[in-house]
Amino acid sequence: MSARAGIGAGAAGLRKLLSTTAFRLSLVYLGIFALSIVLALGYVAWSAERIMTRGMVETIEAEIAELEQVWRRGGLRRLAGAVERRAQAPGASVYLFTTPQGQRITGNVVSVSPGTLDVPGERAIEYARLTAEDESGVAVHRALVRVFVLPGGFRLLVGRDMGERDRLVEAIWGAFGWSLLVLVVLGFLGGWLVSKRVLGRIEAMTATTKTIMAGDLSGRLGVSGSGDELDRLAQSLNAMLERIGELMEGMRQVSDNIAHDLKSPLARLRARADEALRTADSPDALRAALERTIEESDDLIRVFNALLMIARLEAGNAEAPLAEVDAAEIARGVGELYEAVAEEAGVPLELRIADALPLVGSRELLGQALANLIDNALKYASEAAPGAPVTLTAERVGENVVVSVRDRGPGIPADDRERVLERFVRLETARTRPGFGLGLSLVAAVARLHGGTLRLEDAEPGLRAVLVLPRARTRQKDPSTRIAVASSERLKRG
């Protein structure tokens, strides 16, 4: 049972191996190589045969020319003598001189296939030969011969033995067969090894992927270090995993923060209601408790609204009505809205706003962003020297509209400036103040929607929040490309 299962598994593994791309590719290459070898060696064999045949024909013709001269000068008798002499020389050609009836007069041929001598011309024949060393020995050979019919019916056969040529051709075809065999074996073996190796790496990658899919995002694909395409694939996948991990971590942090930051006010809310229920003894006390409860609920609703808004802005599908707006008008309006509050708090609000700053954007969102920045600045301005102002500046810088809000409070340490733009991030120093750490995140999201950025700078003393907004922008769905487009446009013009 287990043996059968083992065989089954082995067969499955082999099937898997045979179905790999690497193996199929090596089979295809093997086929192409085999065909090339067949063609190349076939051509060599064919050429060798042809060249040797031509050599034989030339030798035969030369012999015939000589024998013809002998015959012309001395007649049949001299011819017979010459044939006799030549036939006995070592390495001699094939000779046969016969009577018109086919009886052998002289030559080193014992017999030829019947009828050979009847027709003049050139052909390959089989014949029996007297070997030079041993007169009695007779062997059957193949030869290329030419047959002449002389005046009086005498026949002369001159030829070359084909043994040498046949052996050579045989050797070539033999080499041919062997190399083909070696090629096929090596090709299979190589293909198998390469496939096994590739398959091994792919299997390892698949296994890692499975553990990652199972939820362990820390897993990374192995990189062999050869820098081949599998390595590059693994590297890109690893980079992708890294990025996903970061995003997941960010998401996790955000949801952790949401849970934490919403839990505490809810707990407070509940405690207050609970306490009122237990201790409030007059309708007025109950009323007051309920009013506080509503206020706190409203705060929570604000948090949810802000979160939803950030999420929608970041998804890039906020269909906020983008139109030609005047950032100067918006800055003046929001500045004026907050001027009274600022003055009440003993903080002068300075407005340094250019005459007109047209740009494509959302008046509502930009207004809210500015309101958040001013609100923020006013919170910290109380820590500054008495009478130190908050300054709202709006001006044109190159192709951008730059709106900044500067306070003269404690500022934000350089290390924390990126972090405070994240959702729910509140510095320890801000814990005592009202707020949920969403204000700056919202401003940053509005900036991105407009193809711009929010930067926090050290104003020495204080913090300067700088909103850089491109004056013209193309509307795109994806926020990252939108920013890319905006910056490349800036580059082009600059």
């Binding site: 609204n305 939803l308 809205l337 309101a371 609100d375």
Partner: protein, 228 residues
């Protein structure tokens, strides 16, 4: 006033109807857009309160159809979506005001009353001046006097007082003031509006026995009515 509530959330609708009845209004309810349309088509309501998400016929389509039928009853749209674009879409469909959920009942009530006034005198042009007790506001000359003495107001303070006087006797909420005087719909989070109102109050009421600008707890502000 006769009010129709078109809202598929029964609990929310019951809560709303109860509150409005306590305020002395006659309230009808419909749970689907289609029922709402059938009732509203008659045109004998003073105000329609319409939820955006409704079964059978969504809120915006309902309003659009009514407007096409020539029904001009003022509509307050309620919506759980509550974002900038949702408001714009709602008003474009023919709604008159827009209130994101969750809302304070006082906010809804204040908006309904203001809408009803607008609905009652739709064709009438805005008067060129308002008068409440001894306070007078001349919209053309942009001049404000109280008991014959001129009061100097900043342009924004003028618009604030103008809005309060236009709705004299009715409660206006902070968000309504932000919307109509500053034309912003976001939530300013701090008491920016309160500070502006108290400044205005200092100019208008200071030194007079009768305070005209009143604070309504948990709701907003109210300029004393003409007959009070």
């Amino acid at each position: 006033m006769k009010i129709l509530i078109v809202e598929d959330d029964r609990e929310a609708a019951a809560f709303l109807a109860k509150g409005l009845r306590e305020e002395g209004h006659a309230v009808d309810q419909a749970e689907t857009g289609l029922d709402g349309y059938a009732l509203a088509e008659s045109g004998d309501y003073d105000i329609l309160v319409v939820d955006r998400m409704l079964p059978k016929l969504d809120g915006l389509s309902l309003i659009r159809s009514l407007r096409e039928q020539g029904v001009a009853t003022p509509v307050l749209i309620l919506s759980a979506l509550g974002q900038v674009d949702d408001r714009v879409k709602g008003l474009r469909a023919g709604g008159d005001d827009y209130l994101p959920k969750p809302y304070a009942f006082s906010e809804l009530l204040a908006r309904i009353e203001v809408l009803a006034r607008r609905g009652a005198a739709p064709a009438q042009a805005e008067p060129t001046s308002y008068r409440v007790a001894d306070l007078e506001l001349d919209r053309l000359a942009r001049r404000v006097t109280r008991a014959g003495t001129e009061i100097e107001l900043q342009p924004r303070e003028f618009r604030l007082l103008e809005y309060l006087m236009k709705n004299a006797g009715r409660v206006v909420t902070r968000t309504m003031l932000l919307e109509h005087v500053w034309d912003y719909h976001f939530d300013p989070q701090t008491n920016v509006i309160d500070v502006h109102v108290s400044r205005l109050r200092a100019k208008v009421d200071k030194g007079f026995d009768q305070a005209l600008i009143q604070t309504v707890r948990g709701a907003g502000y109210r300029l004393r009515g003409a007959g009070e």
